[in-house]
């Protein structure tokens, strides 16, 4: 399973790296608008005559880079908060616990939509806002996992032994506890990247994600929605790529989970 999932992701990564070969995703050619897949345009063209292959591959770059950035940022924030909360316990844990509860109680995408909407109304549209909004809700999963791991790990006898030896709190946290939480963390991160790709695409599809002219899968799908009767290929290919990359990360995550 690890190989299947990794293989799918690798293929999409390579294809995305090769995107420039497929040409400029933004060059408009009104003579060839809405032309079906052909030898010249394997994925067809959109309503402005732009080559869909190039747009989809460039979209892959954007989606993957943004998703990985978001996932890493969330991981850093979430792990720190979760580890501190679990290890030191007491009032700190209570406060953080309530904050996590609050975030768990608002469906992520609702808050994402609202935040992107409000911030864009003030600052105008930017990719940075999308990243910020998604990280704002996404760190919670990492924090919960980390807190749970730390809570169970710190009761283990090897931590007690380390204390008996005279090791310090931060030493124990960084040398004993966090490395032992790494396995589940990697699994979560893999699955999370898949989820984030989906979230970004969803936002894009609603018109609230990364904005044109930067090509992004969800946003391309959205623009193809109105041509579903005449040019279904515009929506078909970006959707296929979203599904494939999310599938890749899910299979990889499940495989890693089974291994550990």
């Amino acid at each position: 399973m690890v190989f299947t999932g990794g293989g799918i992701i690798l293929c999409i990564l390579i294809l995305s790296c090769l995107a420039p070969i497929a040409g400029d995703p933004c060059s408009v050619n009104m003579d060839e608008r809405l032309s079906p897949p052909s030898f010249k345009h394997p994925f067809g063209t959109d309503q402005l005559g732009r080559d869909m292959l190039s747009r989809v591959l460039h979209g892959g770059r954007v989606s993957l880079i943004v998703a990985i950035t978001i996932s890493l940022l969330s991981m850093v924030v979430g792990c720190f908060v979760g580890a501190v909360s679990g290890y030191f316990g007491g009032v700190v844990d209570d406060v953080i616990g309530r904050i996590v509860d609050v975030f768990m109680s608002i469906p992520e995408i609702v808050l994402n939509i609202a935040m992107v909407g409000v911030f864009c109304a003030v600052y105008g549209v930017s990719t940075f806002i999308v990243i910020f909004a998604v990280v704002f809700t996404n760190w919670v999963g990492y924090a919960r996992l980390m807190r749970g791991m730390v809570l169970s790990l710190k009761e283990r006898e090897f931590v007690l032994c380390a204390k008996a030896i005279g090791a310090g709190e931060w030493y124990i946290l960084f040398r004993h506890i966090i490395p032992n939480a790494a396995g589940p963390l990697i699994v979560l991160a893999t699955l999370n990247i898949g989820n984030v790709i989906m979230t970004i695409a969803s936002l894009g599809f609603l018109g609230l994600g990364i904005q044109p002219p930067i090509p992004e899968w969800g946003q391309i799908l959205n623009s193809g929605k109105n041509y579903i009767t005449t040019a279904p290929w515009i929506s078909f290919f970006p959707g296929l790529f979203i599904a494939l990359s999310v599938l890749g990360f899910n299979i990889l995550g499940e495989g890693l989970n089974a291994e550990s």
């Binding site: 006898e157 090897f158 007690l160 032994c161 380390a162 030896i165 005279g166 030493y171 490395p179």
Partner: protein
């Protein structure tokens, strides 16, 4: 007296209730002695052991090590007292090689200057604990319970402590392994003069190794028996909960 505690009390919060685990316990261990702390499960003997090591802070009462009161554990104190916990599967970091786990105390206290020095120290103590060199390079999951407990003991003894709390170190092990481990602990005691506080619920084992024995029940130390007195007790009266009555004389 090497180690002693006076009137130690401790309660834990479990859910909303507070449970008094220790209700004013006093025990003492002399140099080179093996003192057994005997009691049923749940009587507070593990907690008392941890209080002596200052791994659990008592609510009331005082702990003395070599006649100085210990309020906050110093590095010196941590070097001189050690713990051998109950479950060998849990006592070693599963991601570390056995070698690293045994060397950890040296590293924490910065006692080995060079890699060679460290290796020599680890190899020496591992040999005393009955481990072969091949064991050192494996992970805990690849060793049996008895081998793991030897590694745990090696780690506890590498700093040459003066006082070790053995918290049921053999209760998870088979009898033949138990015999080997206990023999080894006794041999090391003969050579180094370390003192043990040996926590157990097995009376036969207690009888076999104790210089002195404290009996605990319901968070209190209910009696103290000398070696000779222990021998005289019949096996039946030992098992039949008659100990508290026997020890009521004290």
């Amino acid at each position: 007296m090497l180690m002693r505690c006076v009137n130690v009390s401790k309660s834990f919060k479990v859910g909303r209730r507070r449970i008094e685990v220790l209700k004013g316990c006093s025990i003492a261990v002399d140099e080179g002695e093996t003192v057994v702390l005997f009691g049923e499960s749940g009587c507070g003997k593990t907690t008392l052991g941890r209080v002596l090591l200052m791994l659990v802070k008592p609510d009331a009462g005082r702990v003395f090590f070599k006649d100085t009161e210990i309020t906050a554990p110093t590095r010196e104190f941590r070097k001189s007292v050690q713990l051998i916990p109950q479950n060998p599967d849990e006592a070693l970091n599963p991601r570390w090689r056995i070698y690293d786990s045994i060397a950890e105390p040296l590293r924490v206290h910065g006692l080995a200057e060079t890699m060679n020095e460290e290796f020599d120290a680890v190899a020496a103590i591992a040999e005393k604990a009955g481990l072969k060199e091949e064991h050192l390079h494996r992970k805990p999951s690849e060793l049996s319970g008895g081998e793991l407990q030897r590694a745990v003991i090696a780690r506890a003894l590498i700093l040459e402590p003066e006082f070790v709390v053995c918290d049921e170190p053999t209760s998870m092990l088979d009898v033949s392994v138990q015999a080997a481990i206990v023999r080894m602990l006794m041999d090391i005691q003969k050579r180094t003069g370390v003192s043990y506080l040996f926590i157990t619920h097995d009376l036969e084992l207690a009888r076999a190794i104790a210089d002195r024995m404290y009996v605990m029940s319901g968070g209190r130390v209910t009696g103290e028996l000398r070696k000779e007195e222990l021998r005289e007790l019949s096996r039946e009266s030992l098992i039949r909960c008659e100990l508290p009555r026997v020890s009521a004389r004290f």
